[in-house]
């Protein structure tokens, strides 16, 4: 599978490394060149030597998406630190490039829920945290 990940923060880079180690083709797009540092050391190799791709660019720039390989992506993951960027770029990639599996991180639980009703696969860390706290509270009693 070809996996394109936009946003190489803690989440994006960890998912990228895991996917590469699992044998997928992985391309990472981030506007900050320094974010590449999070990708070093995949089983003792540099990101590039391990076969990973890295592109510097902004998510909304179509040229950057194309350079990062969006046209042949099987899976797209939006994991920048901005909900609005993630929601926008996910919809662009879904509608314009027809990527089959689009996963979008949305911190705001309310919008994560609504956009998932609209057919976007959203993952809300905040919602998970809320549920886990609730569960932990319930089991304490």
């Amino acid at each position: 599978m070809f996996v394109l990940i936009v946003g190489a923060g803690r989440v994006g880079s960890a998912v990228a490394k895991r996917a590469l180690a699992a044998g997928h083709e992985v391309s990472v797009l981030d506007e900050d060149p320094l974010s590449h540092e999070r990708l070093v050391e995949v089983e003792g190799q540099t990101w590039e030597d391990a076969g990973g791709l890295f592109t510097v660019g902004t998510a909304l720039e179509v040229d950057a998406l194309i350079e990062a390989g969006v046209q042949r992506a099987d899976v797209f993951i939006a994991s920048t630190d901005g909900d609005n960027t993630n929601l926008t770029v996910s919809q662009i990639v879904q509608r314009r490039f027809g990527v089959e599996k689009v996963l979008c991180r949305v911190m705001d639980p309310a919008r994560a829920a609504w956009y998932s009703e609209q057919g976007l696969r959203t993952i809300s860390p905040t919602q998970h945290a809320i549920e886990m706290f609730n569960q932990a509270l319930a089991t304490e009693q």
């Binding site: 909304l60 720039e61 179509v62 901005g82 909900d83 609005n84 960027t85 929601l87 926008t88 919809q91 662009i92 509608r95 314009r96 705001d108 309310a110 919008r111 609504w114 609209q118």
Partner: protein, 219 residues
């Protein structure tokens, strides 16, 4: 009319002021605390503090009864998503979005958000209007209706020059609606003779330009 304006920068604030003066009910939303406090001194209860991309902020502002939502922040993603949610979740019939970076226009279209206003684009069109490069200026595009209004200069030796309007060979789906000559404009009749040097305005179905341009340019 009840209008929600998102973003209280220069555009949002002035727009809200004008709308209030015209007797409309306005709620202006601002997500920056400091800016909010400045604007609040003038607009008082007409401005609310909050991030309009969050659903509860829109709901608190009364999105359910809004006749119009105008998103004019300096961030295109915010403007896009506010309008998308207003239209699709809250079924607000009319939205207007500001496009800051003209390259993002395509994204607004893709998400079905219109009309959009891009200052850069407008200024570019004005420049084109003042300095027509190819003799053709796009004055208006009604995208939903698939109609355009363009302005063309009639050049010396063009097929249309010195012909009656009725005799100008235009493709089906286009019409000369106005002639500008010596700094004045008028609506022509079938017998008006089009002269070289005139500017003509045409209304046409989208996509016909390429067939129309040769009629007003020499071969």
């Amino acid at each position: 009319m009840y209008v929600i304006v998102v973003g209280s920068g220069k555009v949002g604030l002035n727009l809200s002021r004008e709308l209030i003066d015209k007797g409309h009910e306005v709620t202006l939303l601002e997500s920056d605390r400091r800016r909010y406090l400045v604007v609040e001194e003038e607009l008082e209860h007409a401005v609310q503090y909050g991030d309009a991309t969050e659903l509860w902020v829109l709901e608190r502002a009364g999105i359910q009864r809004a006749d119009l939502v105008v998103a004019v922040t300096g961030d295109d993603e915010d403007n896009m998503l506010v309008c998308q949610v207003a239209k699709e979740k809250y079924l607000c019939e009319r939205v207007i979005a500001r496009v800051n970076n003209p390259r993002n226009l395509q994204h607004f279209k893709l998400l079905g958000i219109q009309p959009v206003v891009s200052a850069t684009d407008l200024i570019l069109r004005l420049i084109e209007h003042e300095v027509p490069r190819y003799g053709l200026v796009h004055l208006l595009a009604l995208e939903e209706e698939r109609l355009e209004i363009i302005e063309l200069e009639v050049q010396e030796g063009a097929p249309a020059a010195s012909h009656r309007v009725a005799d100008v060979a235009l493709p089906h789906g286009s019409l000369i609606i106005s002639v500008l000559r010596d700094g004045r404009g008028f609506v022509p009749t079938a017998d008006t003779v089009v002269e070289a040097g005139d500017q003509v305005l045409l209304v046409l179905d989208s996509g016909l330009e390429e067939m129309i341009t040769p009629v007003f340019a020499p071969n």
